[in-house]
């Protein structure tokens, strides 16, 4: 199985399409960092104006943690679109290229092939998030230095810099499960058709529709809202509160992992039954 995953990873990382996500992050994050480098003080002043009326605010507020948190907050919603570029292509791309025939005539079960592709895609997803973490948090800490983190979630929360790394680690860990859910959706779409563009567009469309549904504040949607994975994906934010609501986080993890298992299960069923005609 490890050999199969290694082979799939080689296939993923030898394609230019794989690097679109890295390129996007590699361009966007420095742009945000440069903008904050020059205008960060006024940005922080604007954020803390109310606070400054009552308290004496001191220390390095425009620090790497704040930038890392801001970037994670603003970019995590867009990462799914980068992930489906690879996820949607993993199976359908083989069909389009005709290489299904090469692969499925090997002495390896279809389930193992599928599982190895799934793991390889998940590793790609993890590497993209790791790159985001290095660029947004690591690079920001190098440029802007350390300091306490101010988080605005309706109210103002201040976290000591000694109390932050584990929160970021868990937040990224949680975000990874959310992103693997997105990857699983695109992987399922990829198992259905024999053209890579379809699954990519379909997965993006589903995510957009679910985002819209999650934003609609109608009673009609209340019953399904707790089960929408796009809402649960945002619960990484819960690690940035004084009293972490672990029960909600666990519930969200259950729902996200449930989605992953269902998406993968359907993909496995389809792939196993599929006649390879390409």
């Amino acid at each position: 199985m490890i050999t199969l995953i290694y082979i799939e990873l080689q296939k993923i990382f030898k394609r230019w399409r794989t690097y679109i996500g890295f390129l996007a992050i590699g361009v966007l994050v420095p742009i945000i960092q440069i903008a904050l480098f020059y205008e960060g003080d006024s940005f922080v002043n604007g954020m803390t104006r109310r606070l400054q009326d009552t308290f004496l605010v001191s220390g390095n507020l425009l620090n790497g943690y704040l930038i890392g948190h801001l970037i994670l907050n603003s970019l995590i919603i867009h990462i799914p679109f980068l992930i489906v570029l690879v996820g949607g292509d993993l199976l359908a791309g083989e069909a389009t290229a005709g290489t299904y025939r090469l692969l499925i005539t090997r002495p390896v079960s279809r389930f193992k092939l599928l599982l190895s592709k799934f793991f390889a895609g998940s590793i790609y997803t993890a590497s993209l998030l790791l790159f985001l973490a290095i660029m947004s948090l690591g690079l920001s800490l190098m440029i802007f230095g350390h300091g306490d983190l101010i988080v605005f979630t309706g109210k103002i929360l201040i976290f000591s810099q000694d109390d932050l790394l584990w929160r970021f680690a868990l937040a990224y860990g949680f975000a990874l499960i959310g992103m693997i859910t997105v990857f699983s959706l695109s992987f399922l779409a990829s198992s259905l058709v024999e053209n890579a563009i379809g699954p990519i567009v379909a997965s993006m469309s589903v995510i957009i529709v679910l985002f819209i549904l999650s934003a609609l504040q109608f009673d009609f949607f209340e019953a399904i809202r707790p089960y929408l994975f796009v809402i649960r994906m945002n619960d990484w934010n819960k690690f940035f509160s004084y009293n972490i609501d672990y029960s909600t986080i666990w519930k969200s993890l259950e729902i996200l992992i449930g989605h992953i298992l269902v998406f993968f299960g359907i993909a496995a069923y389809i792939f196993n039954k599929k006649d390879i005609l390409s």
Binding site: T3, Q10, K14, A97, Y100, R101, R106, D275
Partner: protein, 305 residues
């Protein structure tokens, strides 16, 4: 009793209302170069895909090496090398990398020397480090043969292996097939449209049409049971017509047109007809036997036999 390498019984594949393969039976023995013939849409590729578990049969059984394909798929495929239709590869990888990855999946020797040995066999050693997207169709076809042979399989399934090759390349593939069969005792299952090629390399064959088996057997026996269509180009067709129609050869005459008399003859009747015409003063300019397998194939698929 020769060992059966492939044993197919009542194999049927239906796509909704269309039956691509209908109750097909076939047997391939060890060491055979078994040719699978049929016009486009006859069900050849569907059958080959079922033999390689790319398509699941609607009905029927496939045994390879005496084992049920549906139950022992991996064990069987470990000893099968194949090209299915056009040779497609990971275009963004080099030929070497493609072979290395595919070999690793097969758990076979993927040492540099082994891969180069195979690349040399198909004449691609000088382009080992080129990405496959830069390859011509013929080169991809050669690489297809290389990947089919890399793990030294007992059974080699080749679907149109000479498509896209130049005449020299076609001859090399034919020679390779003959070598693999005679010297390495490999069993070859070969689908081809090139009947001349089949006639040269095949020991046994099957012809299918519209998913149904028309004939199966030893190539020489099947062809020898058939008469050849032989064209005699003569100088004076009017004289020839009179002489032939008043002779015992009239029954063998098929057509008289444009100074050409076409007879249906067995191989040993060609010389006597020639002698007869010459003795009667008809100048014979040329004798052209039509390709026996081609005639046979066309008759079979047209339902004339």
């Amino acid at each position: 009793m020769e060992e059966l390498i492939i044993e197919v019984k009542n194999l049927t594949k239906k796509f909704k209302n269309f039956t691509a393969v209908n109750n097909l039976d076939l047997n391939v023995h060890r060491g055979d170069v078994f040719c699978f013939l049929g016009p486009n849409g006859a069900g050849k590729s569907t059958t080959i895909r079922m033999l390689l578990s790319l398509i699941k049969p609607t009905k029927g059984s496939i045994k390879i090496f005496g084992k049920d394909l549906s139950k022992h798929r991996n064990e069987i495929l470990r000893n099968v090398g194949a090209i299915v239709e056009k040779p497609d590869f990971y275009l963004y990888l080099t030929a070497y990398k493609n072979l290395e990855l595919l070999g690793k999946i097969n758990r076979c020797d993927v040492s540099k020397s082994k891969i180069f040995e195979i690349l040399e066999l198909v004449g691609l050693e000088s382009r080992w480090n080129s990405k496959v997207k830069t390859y011509s169709h013929g080169m991809k076809q050669r690489l297809g043969i290389a990947q089919a042979l890399l793990h030294n399989p007992e059974l080699i399934i080749l679907d149109e292996p000479t498509t896209g090759l130049d005449p020299q390349g076609m001859k090399e593939v034919r020679d390779l097939i003959t070598t693999l069969s005679r010297e390495k005792n490999k069993t070859i299952f070969l689908s081809s449209h090139l009947l001349s090629e089949v006639e040269i390399v095949a020991s046994r064959m099957i012809i299918i049409n519209q998913g149904i088996k028309k004939v199966e057997g030893d190539v020489k026996e099947l062809l020898n049971s058939e008469k050849l269509n032989v064209k005699f180009e003569v100088s004076d067709i009017k004289v020839a017509k009179y002489i032939i129609e008043t002779s015992t050869w009239a029954n063998a005459l098929i057509q008289l047109q444009n100074n050409v008399a076409i007879f249906s003859l067995s191989e040993n009747e060609v010389a006597p007809v020639n002698k007869f015409l010459v003795e009667k003063g008809v100048e014979v300019k040329a004798i052209i036997p039509s390709r026996s397998l081609e005639e046979y194939f066309l008759k079979i698929t047209a339902g004339e036999i």
